[in-house]
């Protein structure tokens, strides 16, 4: 568990990126899980987890005030767990994806609580804000940023600390072949991506034909290999 502190710092930074700062999408699972894998010593396993999750994340775009999973800290947890368990490959990608999805769900809930907390802080400073206090505006912004960083660090540390022993025991008892496990996991993930693509892009005229054309091309590339 020596990796817990650096991972929680990484999870903090990536969790902060989801909403607060700087929203450069370093919090996407493709990035987060890969970097976490590199931290633990197996970038390739981290990338496999990240790519599978990226398919799922296409369905959860951060529109307005909607509730969505918090992928930043969660991808660090899942990528690191899968990479740390890579010595027993059967089940590691599946367990990494599962750990990320569970953490992302809880993370989404913590984001809602953070927004409630920010509103409470803003209410306390309402008088000062109405009088144009520079200190109140800057203070609220810094308090919000700090709270989010602490939230994401704690989430990463607690989730990794709780899930890692369960994941290790699960992988030790895993009975399906490595490739079957990956096929089931990425097959299910691809369904979310395809359904999301259909939903997101269908409003653009002709987009479904572009999707069908792209799909044919993708299958053709696979057939020619």
């Amino acid at each position: 568990m020596r990796e817990l502190l650096p991972l929680s710092m990484l999870g903090g930074l990536l969790g902060l990126d989801v909403v607060c700062f700087p929203q450069m999408m370093i919090s996407r699972p493709l990035v987060g899980a890969t970097v976490a894998g590199a931290f633990v010593g197996d970038t390739t396993t981290g990338l496999l987890v990240g790519a599978t999750l990226e398919l799922i994340a296409l369905a959860t775009l951060p529109f307005g005030a909607s509730r969505y999973p918090e992928w930043g800290s969660a991808a660090v947890v899942g990528g690191a767990i899968a990479a740390a368990l890579h010595a027993e490959p059967a089940g590691t990608v599946t367990v990494g994806v599962l750990a990320t999805l569970a953490t992302a769900w809880v993370g989404g809930w913590t984001l809602v609580k953070l927004r409630v907390w920010n509103a409470w802080l803003a209410r306390r400073k309402r008088g000062a804000l109405e009088h144009g206090s520079r200190g109140a505006v800057v203070g609220l912004q810094l308090a919000g940023l700090t709270s989010d960083l602490v939230r994401a660090m704690l989430l990463t540390a607690v989730a990794y600390g709780l899930i890692f022993p369960v994941a290790r025991a699960t992988v030790a008892l895993w009975s399906f072949d490595e490739h079957i496990s990956r096929a089931v996991t990425v097959g299910a993930a691809s369904a979310v991506a395809a359904a999301a693509a259909w939903t997101i892009f269908h409003s653009a005229r002709g987009a479904r034909w572009y999707f069908a054309g792209g799909l044919l091309l993708g299958l053709l590339i696979l057939a020619m290999r």
Binding site: M24, V31, E54, G144
Partner: protein, 243 residues
């Protein structure tokens, strides 16, 4: 130096996002370096009145809020009457929100992500996959923020015309079509690399994906795909451990 400071602050514009004032405090925070230049500086009544005005409720897409920041800085420093600034601020929320959502969340983000997945699918190394995504996405992201600040500052309260820019008006539809085509290519290639060399397993994964996707489209809005997948994968793990 003021613009660098404002730009960096716009990156943290959602730092205190909450369900009551939404982006409001962030707008005040980002504008504060510009408002310091009001006559009398930070202790003046003009500064305090402007800070109070600019920290009130505001809602828009976070990246395109830079358009509002530039225009509001110009308006405040030019001495535009407060009532006019408040009306302008309210009027900007809707357009900046809807254009940003379509252009960035439903366009640039999935497009960049899918292009990176194609790179992954054709065997690119981890660093290349991550770099392709981050460079492509942030070229658009940072470019949009810088453009927003510039156009807002240049046009001031007449900035609404800039939102009729062909890129903003037609861009989302073009990006959506491109992203749809890229999605079609990326999905099977990604599945193939994760599954590995077995043709049979690849076919099985693609069929499984197609069946579940068909079901998800049919029940659109009633079931969230990622939650369904969480349950399915958890069941699969349970079977693998228990059998």
């Amino acid at each position: 130096m003021t613009w660098v400071s404002i730009f960096i602050r716009t990156l943290a514009i959602q730092g205190s996002w909450n369900y009551e004032t939404l982006l409001g405090n962030g707008v005040g925070f980002a504008l504060e370096p510009a408002l310091r230049q009001l006559p009398g500086g930070v202790r003046s009544d003009a500064f305090k009145a402007a800070m109070a005005r600019e920290s009130a409720y505001f809602n828009a897409h976070p990246y395109l809020t830079s358009v509002a920041i530039g225009a509001l800085a110009k308006a405040e420093l030019s001495g535009v009457p407060p009532e006019r600034i408040e009306r302008f601020r309210t009027a900007l929320c809707g357009p900046l929100g809807s254009v940003g959502d379509r252009l960035v969340w439903a366009g640039l983000l999935p497009f960049s992500s899918l292009v990176a997945l194609i790179a992954f699918g054709i065997g690119a190394r981890p660093l290349a996959v991550v770099a392709i995504f981050l460079v492509m996405y942030n070229a658009g992201h940072l470019g949009l923020r810088i453009w927003g600040l510039r156009v807002g500052w240049t046009r001031g309260l007449a900035v609404a015309g800039a939102l009729a820019n062909p890129m903003l008006r037609n861009g989302p539809a073009y990006i959506a079509r491109a992203a749809a085509a890229v999605a079609g290519i990326a999905i099977p290639l990604t599945v193939a690399r994760v599954v590995g060399p077995s043709r049979l397993l690849l076919d099985g994964a693609l069929i499984l994906g197609a069946v579940i996707a068909f079901g998800l489209v049919r029940v659109h809005g009633r079931v969230e795909g990622w939650k369904l997948v969480l349950v399915l994968i958890a069941l699969f793990a349970l079977v693998s451990v228990a059998r």
